[in-house]
């Protein structure tokens, strides 16, 4: 997905003179073409994420839309107050592009994980939160945000070849993606767990599959239709329970008095002490068993 992000930057930023790319000591060798094409609108800071975020807000105060990119935990956790005050409260057009939401950097250990990123970002005023699941989606979301005022956080996952949506996909922030027709039992998810669910359920004739690309503002109207149609929903996520998509589904179901069983799968809110691939760690915590157990039912 990161390569698609750079490709979209390459396509969009040279055309839009009011855009800036800012990163913090990343992407050696991969960003040269972007740097060449946008000149002084390409800014590479050092390892100084807190400063970078507030500097991005200062740049946006002069009329620029600023794409601000680095590894997710450093972008969000280290710079949290800077995001809260200078991006959120100020409603700055700063687009936080988080490389590695969830367990993408699992082999690198705890410092590089971001399993609470959505939870953190939900507390930021004005911010839009996106969870794109494939390359068409991230491309479309970036193009939408390049022309939209205000801040956003985009959770980028790995998997450059993943493609669930059509080539001519058009992004609508109020929409969700019904990837397999709704049935009595449906899976609602996004990102890496969509990939796993799709792999397990691709031939299922009894389970629908829904991708949620926007967590905030929550696409309530469309999600409500899924809840109303479902007797049972499985909601697996590479995230802790707190602040998850599951909590949004439960809240919506309660508010609208919909009787639908919603069964979550999430990571524990604890230090993840394991190295290995993202899939290995997800399996360790039982994602495949969870999904296969439910297909058996």
């Amino acid at each position: 997905m990161r390569s698609q992000f750079y490709n979209t930057m390459l396509e969009v930023l040279p055309r839009l003179e009011n855009t800036i790319f800012i990163g913090s000591d990343l992407g050696a060798g991969t960003l040269d073409e972007l740097k060449e094409k946008i000149g002084d609108r390409f800014i590479m800071e050092g390892v100084n994420e807190s400063h970078m975020v507030t500097m991005a807000s200062g740049l946006s105060s002069e009329g620029f839309t600023v794409f601000c990119s680095t590894i997710t935990p450093f972008l969000l956790r280290r710079a949290y107050e800077h995001i809260y005050l200078d991006v959120g409260c100020r409603n700055s057009s700063v687009k936080l592009m988080g490389n590695g939401g969830g367990l993408v950097y699992a082999p690198l250990g705890t410092t590089h994980l971001a399993i609470e990123d959505i939870h953190l970002m939900k507390g930021i005023p004005n911010i839009r939160i996106y969870t794109p699941s494939d390359k068409q989606q991230i491309d479309a979301i970036i193009k939408f945000e390049a022309k939209t005022d205000g801040p956003c956080y985009i959770r980028m996952i790995k998997g450059k070849d993943k493609s669930y949506l059509p080539e001519n996909y058009v992004f609508d922030p109020q929409n969700i993606d019904i990837l397999k027709d709704l049935k009595d039992t449906n899976i609602i998810t996004y990102g890496e767990t969509l990939s796993i669910a799709n792999e397990i359920y691709k031939d299922s004739k009894v389970t629908g599959l829904v991708n949620i690309p926007v967590i905030k503002p929550f696409p309530e109207k469309e999600v409500l239709k899924v809840l109303e149609r479902s007797q049972k929903i499985f909601c697996p996520e590479v995230h802790i329970k707190e602040g998850s998509l599951y909590t949004d589904l439960i809240q919506l179901a309660q508010e609208k008095k919909i009787e639908c069983e919603i069964i979550p799968w999430h990571l524990p809110n604890q230090k993840i002490d394991l190295y290995g691939s993202e899939r290995e760690i997800l399996n360790h915590f039982g994602i495949t068993d969870f999904l296969k157990r439910n297909i058996d039912e």
Binding site: S50, G58, E62
Partner: protein, 268 residues
């Protein structure tokens, strides 16, 4: 009005706001009053006619707790009414204990959490460079504030981008909230620290407004730091000596009148 008379007027407005609000950081505001007079009356292209337009110079008060001085100056410049000062910190008032740029005319940046304003100023200065604009950018930081690591991150960045349109003023009164800077978190050799970060550093040791003016008029190819040797609480003896004045609550009418009298005596 002479600068000295204006200084007295601004400080009386600060005291009056504090008295009506029942709280405030008065010594910090007194500490930066001369600096603000120099900036707003002798240096910046920033007034009631252009504060909302692109041609204004940008002033960022990073040490937001000095805002009583900024409010008094903005009222003096007729950017908002002096009556607003009397509602300081009241429910639903324009002016609160730290400045809100999204609400208060003439305030460039919402500060209060220390260590943010310089990064924001670096962003503005860089953006103006990209747009090839000549506006000046001035950021005022406190000496306690520069304990924050993000200030030094911002200095590295100002050097990287060679922001010769950025001037950083340090309110070096040598007192922070808990006590003397040299005891709480020593900063010396401060000049060497800034120089090693690539800044062009100068001092205003004798803090007269004319001396600040002279220093501001100089230019440099590197980002500038002007270390202003200020006096926290300047003008009222007890505020200069007593750390507990850093942030005070409500005082009696009698005490207020006494403080006004002391100020008037100082500037007589």
């Amino acid at each position: 009005m002479s600068d000295q008379k204006l200084e007295l007027e601004i400080k009386k407005m600060i005291l009056e706001s504090f008295h009506h609000g029942g709280r405030g950081h008065v010594p910090s505001a007194f500490s930066i009053t001369k600096i603000l007079i120099s900036l707003y009356c002798h240096y910046l292209n920033l007034d009631k006619n252009n504060y909302g337009s692109d041609d204004r110079d940008r002033f960022i008060l990073s040490k937001g707790h000095g805002c009583l001085a900024l409010y008094a100056m903005l009222a003096h410049k007729e950017i908002f009414s002096k009556e607003e000062l009397l509602k300081f910190c009241h429910f639903n008032s324009l002016l609160g204990g730290h400045p809100n740029a999204e609400k208060i005319p003439g305030v460039e940046y919402s500060s209060g959490s220390l260590g943010h304003g310089l990064s924001f100023s670096v962003g503005i200065a860089k953006a103006l460079k990209i747009k090839k604009k000549k506006n000046k950018v001035v950021c005022l930081v406190g000496d306690g504030e520069i304990n924050e690591g993000s200030v030094w991150e911002a200095l590295l960045s100002a050097n990287l981008h060679q922001l010769d349109n950025l001037t950083i003023l340090v309110d070096y009164n040598k007192v922070q909230s808990f006590g003397n800077v040299k005891d709480v978190m020593p900063l010396e050799p401060l000049e060497d620290k800034f120089k090693s970060f690539g800044m062009a550093v100068s001092h205003v040791e004798d803090l007269k407004i004319s001396n600040i003016n002279n220093e501001l008029q100089k230019t440099s190819s590197a980002p500038r730091v002007i270390i202003c040797h200020t006096l926290k609480g300047e003008g009222i003896d007890e505020m200069e000596k007593d750390f507990s004045w850093h942030h005070k609550g409500k005082i009696s009418e009698e005490k207020y009148q006494e403080l006004v009298g002391k100020l008037e005596a100082t500037y007589a």
